[in-house]
Symmetry: C2
Subunit: 370 residues, 2 copies
């Protein structure tokens, strides 16, 4: 039997609740496929701050690096909102991404891969979307976000003063060719496995960093003649995602634009509570996390939707460990649970005659489905 | 009779078509209120590049500075897309904004101010929106975008190489306290005149420039105890605009986030072809322009919707010259023309039994309505 070590980083807010559900799902789906997991739970974010004084303890990072894959819950909360930068929970997450060198963040805005599942699944979500049915139905896009560069990490950064002695705050948006080239390749390969269309989003009419981005993406395109490449300015992309999201297949963009556009895209499918993400590097363990936040307002109330984390666990199996079958077990179980009418508050609508459940009960039903 | 000098900058693509309609509307509405206009047409953007070799000729900027207000069409086109930065049409627009020192860009996502008009108007637009009727109906928000700072203008910027000799492209996101303070004041005052709610959008969990932004906005808030201030991260804001746009009244944000969010917000109202904007400084003429682009694909085909530029002319009258009555004449005429069923392609839907018209005919009907 195959054995993998998994680092579990529950983090803050609803993190522990959703991680616990995902852990059970992993364990069960794994055992049915002859997989054994060794789980190691480590602190990160606000939880780590409270415990150790830093948002990413060394032990957490080294455990993560040594494991086969990392599953993260969520990070952040009001409590730490006014902390200085190096003591913010979010800084721990950024250090983790940088430490694991996971430069490619895949954020699907339609979750289940098999066509037949996709259809059922989307009909479910279309009702929850604020977009008109004919606009939302059939949306199936993937945002490939650069995750370890750009303005999130660029130097110089900090505070200082200008020539008039006034305080300034500053950051640097910077990309080097190798950073653009490697994320572009991942994006082209992702598009190849999908519908063969890649849209690169930048602000090349204003920013030098974007001009280099566009130049390199165009250069790499020659390696992928079967992919149809287009370019779009970020302001237009934000608009087109609302106007006609079906026009998109794969989107590739920088760290900050990817942060904004993937959250926007997630809303189109109806609930951010359903969407997983995978962050991959050239080697070493991948980092898998729901794209939703820590939702401090509902933390500890057994109200969270665990499915985004459960589906992140499925991505972990598939992209992180190459365990397709176990991944499918989880995806199918998610669908089955939804089909049986179970809904957490964020995706519940009365008219359907569905059953409103909490995070734990959703987990129990999911286990039954697996 | 009052006399004003107006600089008309038609620019590129559909610019000349929409400016010509707006000019007629200004002239007629003005004359009915005893206003005389002296118009001066000057080149900018790609048109100026072709004519003079630079995207903002000195004569254009100095004419603009000397006039009472500036009305701009649109800028940019495929033809110049691969130009170097200082020879891009967009650079001309940025130089114009900087030259006129118009740091405050007001972008309403519901156009006509009077309540009774608003209602009728929105019912018209709700159909064109891709959002569900109950989500889009009644949306009435204003994005106050900082326009002459941040990553658009920050230095250092350019190209270089990293320690491995690889090419890099970089930009600087930077704000000084005075820049944040003055845009915050405009935003608080805007919120006061509206429903008294201001949401400041930043990425203060990651960026130092945003941390200073948030700190200063909170400091300025004490001057406006009657305004209810909230803060939101930009990724969440991009999501909330789709999820529930009615939660917003006034949004204030930096240059790049404002670029992205105002375009996204515009889509919620159904057509970006309807939305005007005003850019104001501490003194000197304001700059008024539609928020749509130059639409090179339909340029010269008499298909453009001139109403965004016409409504920008109304903003010019109101915010630029203090000529409320003439502004109202134009706004009422826009409504009347829409009520009589005239629609350009972008807002046309067959089922309503409307009349599909081109840009010129829309202009003629508008003149009749005035
Ligand atoms: C929590 C925050 C630092 C993070 C980011 O901006 O990357 C989050 O918004 C995300 O998208 O994963
Ligand atoms: C044309 C471009 C430079 C401009 C901007 O980014 O400001 C446009 O998108 C806008 O929003 O007015």
């Amino acid at each position: 039997s195959r054995r993998y070590s998994i680092t579990l980083l529950a983090g803050d807010g609803i993190g522990p609740e959703v991680i616990s559900v995902a852990k059970n799902a992993l364990q069960l789906a794994g055992s049915l496929e002859g997989i054994e997991f060794g789980f190691k739970e480590m602190p990160v974010g606000g939880a780590a701050l409270d415990l150790t004084g830093v948002p990413l303890p060394e032990e957490t990072l080294s455990a993560a690096k040594k494991s086969d894959a990392v599953l993260l819950g969520a990070i952040g909360g009001y409590k730490w909102d006014n902390n200085e930068k190096h003591l913010k929970p979010e800084t721990g997450l950024l250090q983790l991404r940088a430490g694991l060198k996971v430069f490619a963040n895949l954020r699907p805005a339609s979750v289940l891969p098999q066509m037949f599942i996709l259809c059922v699944y989307q009909i479910q979500l279309v009702d929850a979307s604020t977009l008109k049915k004919e606009v939302a139905e059939g949306v199936d896009l993937m945002v490939v976000r650069e995750l370890t560069g750009g303005i999130y990490f660029g130097k110089p950064r900090g505070f200082g003063s200008n020539e008039n002695g006034e305080e300034i705050g500053f950051n640097t948006e910077v990309y080097a060719t190798y950073e653009i080239d490697r994320i572009a390749r991942i994006a082209f390969e992702t598009a190849q496995k999908r519908r063969g269309k890649l849209c690169s989003v930048d602000k090349a009419n204003v920013l030098e960093a974007s001009m280099l981005w566009r130049k390199r993406v165009m250069a790499i395109a020659s390696e992928y003649p079967d992919v149809e490449l287009s370019h779009m300015y970020v302001d237009n992309a934000a608009m087109q995602l609302v106007r006609n999201p079906k026009q998109f297949d794969t989107i590739v963009t920088n760290n900050i634009f990817g942060d904004i556009l993937s959250d926007e895209a997630s809303m189109i499918t109806g609930s951010i509570g359903m969407l997983p993400s995978a962050s991959l590097g050239e080697a070493g363990p991948g980092l898998f996390e729901p794209i939703h936040g820590s939702a401090p307002d509902i933390a500890g109330q057994d109200k969270a939707n665990p499915l985004a984390t459960v589906l992140s666990a499925a991505m972990l199996l598939k992209y992180g460990l190459g365990e397709e079958k176990a991944a499918q077990r989880i995806e199918t179980a998610v669908l089955d649970t939804l089909n049986r009418g179970f809904r957490t508050g964020d995706i519940y609508s009365e008219s359907e005659g569905n059953k409103l459940v909490g995070c734990k009960e959703m987990g129990k039903e999911l286990v039954k489905s697996i």
